[in-house]
């Protein structure tokens, strides 16, 4: 088989492609843009609604328990972590969406690898593994203590609270830790995939 034989065969593909009209291409672009905007808005709206809901709950319960200092500290901590999580979530989403595809494949892979590596191996990369279970315990405590109508310390001293903490907390911590770990593992697999491709571009493998 001649070398340019392959190119001749491939060229025959040109006659088999059904070209789309400009109107069809415009429709494709418009529907994709709408899909992306709707997805963006729904993510933003859900995050904001959840965040505002948590903050409203924290404000109301804190006002009703303004004499209980430990309860207030617990709620303020939840509030700060919730706002930080919302902001960092938006920031990560923005970074992912601003993926610049108009560069050589090798450069693009390097940018993606660096971005993912920063998130997975950077200074605060493991923070959310512990932050999610920690936040879970604080929220459970906040709800439990509020509906017991007693001060924070007194509630924690009751037998049922101790049993609930001993049984419930480890299960909740395990589930939230497991969930966070699974996401992390998935991201690591993506990173490995990109590194593998980069290795092949550089002809190292």
């Amino acid at each position: 088989m001649e070398n340019n034989e392959l190119q001749k065969i491939w060229k025959s593909l040109d006659t088999e492609i059904n070209q789309k009209s400009k109107e069809e291409l415009n429709l494709l672009l418009t529907s994709k843009a709408k899909q992306t905007i709707n997805k963006f808005l729904s993510i933003i709206m859900i995050s904001i609604i959840v965040c505002v809901g948590v903050l409203v709950y924290l404000t109301i319960t804190s006002l009703n328990r303004k004499d209980d200092l430990i309860y207030l500290i617990n709620n303020v901590t939840i509030g700060i972590v919730t706002i930080l999580a919302l902001l960092s979530g938006f920031f990560s989403w923005y970074k992912i969406q601003n993926n610049e595809y108009d560069q050589p494949l090798k450069n693009w892979l390097e940018v993606r690898i660096s971005l993912l590596s920063q998130g997975l191996t950077g200074r605060f990369s493991k923070l959310y593994l512990f932050l999610i279970p920690f936040l879970y315990v604080l929220i459970v405590l906040s709800i439990h203590v509020y509906f017991e109508y007693k001060p924070f310390i007194d509630v924690l001293k009751t037998e049922e609270s101790i049993i609930a903490l001993i049984v419930g907390a480890p299960i909740g911590i395990f589930v939230s830790y497991y969930g966070a770990r699974k996401i992390r593992k998935y991201q690591f697999r993506n990173l490995e995939f990109l590194k593998d491709l980069h290795g092949r571009v550089c002809n190292m493998r």
């Binding site: 088989m1 492609i17 070209q19």
Partner: protein, 167 residues
Amino acid sequence: MKRLNMKSTKEEFLEILSNYQGILYKVSLIYFKNASDRGDNFQEIVYQLWKSFPKLQNKNSIGSWVYAVSINTSISRIKRVSRIEYRETLPEVPDTSNIIDEISKNESLELLLNAIYNLDDIDKSIMLLYLDEKSYDEIAEIIGISKSNVGVRINRAKEFLKQNIKN
């Protein structure tokens, strides 16, 4: 005035897209076997091209820009699609996106395409550019590797394709 500019920009973009859509078809074809995945990928590339269109400075290298965005977008989708395919065991969706409905009638092309599917993801792009008669310089620019490396990889992949087609 701004709206008018936007409109003319979009018209210019659609004009370019219309002229270069063959690239989008071919890149989607070599990376995705399933017609519906190809259709989704085609649409995603159109969107990514539109997003990066304002940054397109050199109107003389539109082809390279279309190839780069198409290849990078497709590669970023391979892993996601393969994960979905692994989970779903649904039968293949019939080709309704009119991408290439006559391909099975062209036996040589089908053989070549099947051989391309067996190449690794990077060599697929390099061979696509080679088969589309791009120069080594252009291929090196789009992939981001040296010209000599392009030559070595093309020779290796060509041999692989020939062997595959023969068998």
